[in-house]
C-alpha cells in the first residue's frame, strides 16, 4: 500500500514539475502575472509530492517490507534502525530519489525566500528548476524506480553493504547532495539571466547566498567523505584522486570560483560572462559527476553497480541540461551589457587570477579523470592516471593561488597598487618564511612549503581583519567595537581563508606520518614513534548482524599509559564481507591510529600509524564551511527572511519590476 502511494506521489511530482516548468517560463515570457504567481505554489506542491514518495521509501525500509525490490536487495531486518533509515539512500534508486528531494527543496526554497526577487526572475528560476526536476523525476519513475515490487517477497533481505553501516558514511550522501544539487539554483539563476538578457549588481547579490550555501554543504560533504576514508579503510589515506572523488572536487573548484566571481558582479558589474559560465559549469560538473559515477565508465572503487542503460538515461539528462544552456550562453552572452572597467592590478584583477587558477586546476583534474576512458576510445590503450600525476600537476597550480590569497582582499577595487597591500602583510610573510625555514631544517622540503603556506594564509587572514578593525592603530576598545560592527561577510571570508590554511597544515603534517605493520601475539609489543605499543588481548564479540574480532592495544610512554585502543574487524555473514574498524586516539594535534589485519596463529597483524596534524585536515574544512556560513548570515545578503534591523527598506528598493 505504502509503496504504491510512494509511486503515485512520484508520478504526481513529475507532472507538477513539468507544469511548474512550462507555466513559469511561459508566464515570465508573456509577463503574465497570474501564471507567474502560480509558480511558488507548484514548487511547494512538488516538494510535498516528492517528500511523500521519499518518506514512503524510508517507511518501507524501516518496516523491512521485502516485497519492494529495492528494500529486498539492499536491506535486512537485523540492521539497526538508524542504518535502515539511512540505507534508503545507500543504493542507486534511493539516492536518485534523494536527488529529486533536494531539487524539490531548492525550488520550494526559492518560492519561500525569494520574495524580494522581481517576479519574472523568480518565475524563470523556479521554471528552470522545475524542468531539471522533471527530468530527474522521469528518470526516477522509469529507469530507476525504487518502488518496483517482487512477488513472492523473500523472507530476508540480501543485506546492506557492510561498509555503509557507519555513522559518517550514513549522513555523507544527504550533505553531499545538498551541495551538488544546491548548485542547481545558481544554474537556474544564470539561465534565467541569459533568457532575460540582463545581469546586474542585484542579480549578483541574489545569486551569492545560494552559491554560498551549496558551497558550504559541498565542503562539508567532501570533508566527511575524506574523513570516513581515513578512519575506515584502515591504512590512513584520506584522498586518492579516485575518479569519483575527483568528480565531487570539480564542482567544488568551479563553485569556489563562482562564489568569488559573483562578488565582482555585485560590487562592480564586471566579470558577468565568467560568472554565468561558472554557474552553468558548476551544475554541469555536478551532473557529469553523477553520470560518471553511475554509468560505470570509470575505473573506481566507489562506483555503483554498472548499468549502461542507466548511464544512457543520465547522459541524456546531462545533454538536455548542458547543451541548451551552453547554446543559450553562446547566443545571449554578447547581449549582456558591457562590464565595468578595471585595471589588471586591482581586486577584480586578483579575482580574475583566482578564477583562472581554480579553473585550471579543475581542467587538470577533469582531463586526468577522463583520460583513461578517452585514451581507450581513441587509442585503444589501457592507461591509468593516478595519484602521482595529480599530485605533481595540481600542486604547482595551487601554489600561486595560495600566494595570492591574502593579497587579494587587500587590493582596492578598480585600480590598486601593490605597495600598501604588501605593507600590511610584511609581518605575515616574514613569519611564514621563518616557519618554512624551521620546518625545512627539521623535515622534508614539501612539508616545509606546506607549513609556510599555511602560516601565510592564516596570518594573512588575521592581517586582513586586523587592518579592518585598525588594530594597534586605535585604542583596543575601539578596535573591538569595530570588530562587532564588521560586516559578517568580511569576517566569514577571513575565517574561510584561514580554514584553508588549517587544512593545508594538516596535509603537510600527514606527509610526515610514519607507520609500522607487524605481527603481534597477545603480550608482545614494540617501540614505534617514541611510544611503546603492546597488544594486550584479542577477543570475539557478536553484534546484531555481525561477528567482531577485537584487539586491545595499549600505548604507553615512559611507563605511563597514554591510550587504550580497540581496533576490530567485523565479519558480516549475510553479505560475506569483512569491515575493518580502526581505533584512533586524537588530541587534535596527533592521531595515534591502529588497524587490525588478519588474525591467525594466535596473534594478529596490526598496522600502527603516527599521524601528526591529521585532524586539522577536516577541522580546516569545518572552519571553511563555518566561514561560509557566517558570510551567509550577513544582513546585506538577506533575501527576504525577516531581520531585526533596517534591511527591509533596502531590499524593497532593489525590486525592479518585471
Amino acid at each position: 500500500m505504502v509503496p504504491e502511494l510512494g509511486n503515485f506521489a512520484l508520478a504526481l511530482a513529475c507532472c507538477l514539475a513539468l507544469t511548474q516548468a512550462v507555466l513559469s517560463l511561459l508566464g515570465a515570457e508573456g509577463r503574465d502575472a497570474r501564471l507567474m504567481s502560480a509558480s511558488p505554489g507548484l514548487a511547494f506542491g512538488q516538494l510535498i509530492a516528492v517528500g511523500t514518495a521519499f518518506l514512503a521509501l524510508v517507511w518501507s525500509n524501516v518496516v523491512s517490507d521485502f516485497s519492494v525490490r529495492n528494500v529486498a536487495e539492499n536491506s535486512q531486518s537485523q540492521a539497526p534502525l538508524f542504518y535502515r533509515i539511512t540505507g534508503t539512500w545507500g543504493n542507486h534508486d534511493g539516492s536518485i530519489l534523494l536527488w529529486c528531494l533536494v531539487l524539490a527543496l531548492c525550488g520550494a526554497a526559492i518560492a519561500a525566500f525569494g520574495g524580494n526577487l522581481p517576479s519574472a526572475l523568480r518565475a524563470r528560476v523556479i521554471g528552470v528548476l522545475g524542468a531539471v526536476a522533471a527530468g530527474f523525476l522521469l528518470f526516477a519513475l522509469t529507469a530507476s524506480n525504487a518502488f518496483t515490487r517482487i512477488w513472492p517477497p523473500p523472507m530476508q533481505g540480501q543485506g546492506m553493504n557492510a561498509l555503509l553501516q557507519d555513522p559518517a558514511l550514513a549522513i555523507h550522501p544527504p550533505i553531499l547532495y545538498l551541495g551538488y544539487v544546491g548548485f542547481a539554483v545558481p544554474f537556474a539563476f544564470a539561465v534565467a539571466a541569459l533568457i532575460e538578457g540582463r545581469v546586474d549588481a542585484a542579480w549578483g547579490r541574489w545569486v551569492r547566498p545560494w552559491a554560498l550555501a551549496s558551497w558550504c554543504f559541498l565542503t562539508c560533504g567532501i570533508a566527511l567523505g575524506s574523513w570516513w576514508a581515513y578512519y575506515d579503510l584502515g591504512w590512513g589515506g584520506f584522498w586518492f584522486w579516485d575518479p569519483v572523488e575527483n568528480s565531487s572536487l570539480l564542482p567544488w573548484l568551479t563553485g569556489t570560483a563562482l562564489l568569488h566571481s559573483a562578488i565582482v558582479v555585485e560590487k562592480r558589474e564586471a566579470l558577468k560572462t565568467w560568472t554565468i559560465l561558472l554557474a552553468i559549469a558548476t551544475f554541469a560538473l555536478s551532473l557529469c559527476g553523477t553520470f560518471l559515477t553511475r554509468s560505470g565508465i570509470l575505473n573506481s572503487v566507489h562506483a555503483f553497480a554498472n548499468d549502461p542503460t542507466r548511464g544512457l538515461f543520465i547522459l541524456a539528462l546531462l545533454g538536455l541540461v548542458v547543451v541548451p544552456s551552453l547554446l543559450l550562453f553562446a547566443l545571449r552572452a554578447p547581449v549582456l551589457s558591457p562590464s565595468g572597467i578595471f585595471a589588471i592590478l586591482s581586486r577584480e584583477g586578483g579575482l580574475v587570477l583566482n578564477n583562472i587558477l581554480l579553473c585550471s586546476i579543475a581542467a587538470v583534474v577533469l582531463t586526468g579523470t577522463l583520460y583513461p576512458p578517452f585514451a581507450n576510445l581513441i587509442g585503444g590503450v589501457q592507461l591509468s592516471v593516478g595519484a602521482p600525476f595529480f599530485d605533481s600537476t595540481v600542486l604547482p597550480l595551487a601554489a600561486p593561488l595560495i600566494l595570492a590569497m591574502p593579497l587579494g582582499p587587500m587590493l582596492s577595487w578598480k585600480r590598486a597598487t601593490l605597495g600598501p597591500a604588501l605593507l600590511r602583510l610584511w609581518w605575515a610573510a616574514l613569519a611564514a618564511c621563518v616557519v618554512g625555514v624551521i620546518a625545512a631544517l627539521g623535515w622534508h622540503g614539501l612539508a616545509a612549503l606546506g607549513f609556510a603556506g599555511s602560516a601565510w594564509l592564516i596570518l594573512g587572514a588575521a592581517a586582513d581583519l586586523g587592518g579592518r578593525i585598525r588594530l594597534f592603530r586605535v585604542p583596543l576598545a575601539e578596535s573591538l567595537s569595530r570588530l562587532a560592527g564588521l560586516p559578517t561577510a568580511a569576517l566569514g571570508a577571513a575565517i574561510a581563508h584561514a580554514g584553508l590554511g588549517v587544512t593545508i597544515a594538516g596535509i603537510a603534517g600527514m606527509t610526515l606520518a610514519s607507520q609500522s605493520v607487524t605481527f603481534l601475539r597477545p603480550g608482545q609489543g614494540l617501540d614505534f614513534a617514541g611510544d611503546h605499543w603492546t597488544l594486550q588481548s584479542l577477543t570475539n564479540k557478536s553484534g546484531p548482524d555481525y561477528v567482531a574480532r577485537t584487539a586491545t592495544l595499549v600505548v604507553s610512554r615512559d611507563g605511563r599509559t597514554i591510550a587504550v585502543l580497540h581496533p576490530s574487524e567485523r565479519a558480516f555473514p549475510v553479505q560475506q564481507t569483512d569491515v575493518t574498524d580502526t581505533a584512533i586516539r586524537t588530541d587534535f594535534l596527533v592521531d595515534l591510529y591502529t588497524a587490525l589485519g588478519s588474525v591467525h596463529d594466535g596473534g594478529a597483524e596490526v598496522r600502527l600509524r603516527y599521524d601528526p596534524l591529521a585532524p586539522w585536515i577536516w577541522l580546516g574544512a569545518l572552519v571553511m564551511a563555518a566561514g561560509g556560513g557566517l558570510s551567509l548570515a550577513d544582513r546585506r545578503l538577506r533575501v527576504g527572511a525577516p531581520w531585526r534591523r533596517e534591511s527591509k527598506r533596502g531590499s524593497r528598493a532593489a525590486q525592479v519590476s518585471a
Binding site: S295, L315, V323, L326
Partner: protein
Amino acid sequence: MALSLATRRRLMLVAPLGLAAIGGFGFLRLLDRMQTGRYDPHAVPNFLVGHPVPSFTTTPALPGRGFSSADLRNLPQPVLVNFFASWCVPCQAEHPLLMQLQSQSVAIWGIAYEDSEAAMAGLLAAHGDPYVRLGADKTGAAAIAWGISGVPESFLVDRGGVIRWHIGGPLSAETIAGTLDPLLRTYA
C-alpha cells in the same frame, strides 16, 4: 590569424558548447562499447601475447611433475597453461571444460597459485586431473612473471614456446569453440 575582436569573442563563447558536445559524443561511444563488451574499465590487459614464455619456475605440486620456462620450448604440440587454485570458485566452474579438453588430447599444464598440496590433491582426486604437468606457485612469483591479476587465467603456448593467446578469466564453451579450437588447429 587576423580575426576581429568580435569574431574571436564569438569563438570563445562557443568553445564550451563545442567541448561539451565532443565530451558527450565520447561518452555515448563509451557506453555503446561497454554494452557490446569492447570496453571494460576494470579489465587488466596482458601484454605477453606474441612474446616468448617469460622466465619462471614452479615447485612440483605432486611428486615429479613440476616445470619451468625451460620446459615450455620445443614442444610436440601446443600447450594450454592454466593458472588455477582450489580456493577459487570460477576455477571449479571451469574444471569440467578442462577435463573435456583433456579427453580431446589437448595438453594442459597447470600452475596452482598460492595453494596447499592437500587442497590441490583433494580437488584433483574429487573432480579428475586434466593436467599433463602440474607446478605449484607458492609465492606468486610465477604468476606475476606471467602478468596474472587473478585466477583462473589461461595461456596458449605454441610449439616454439611463444604465447599466442590469453584469457583473463574462466574458459567457457563458447570461447573454446569459437577461439581456442581454431587456434589449436592453427598452431598444431
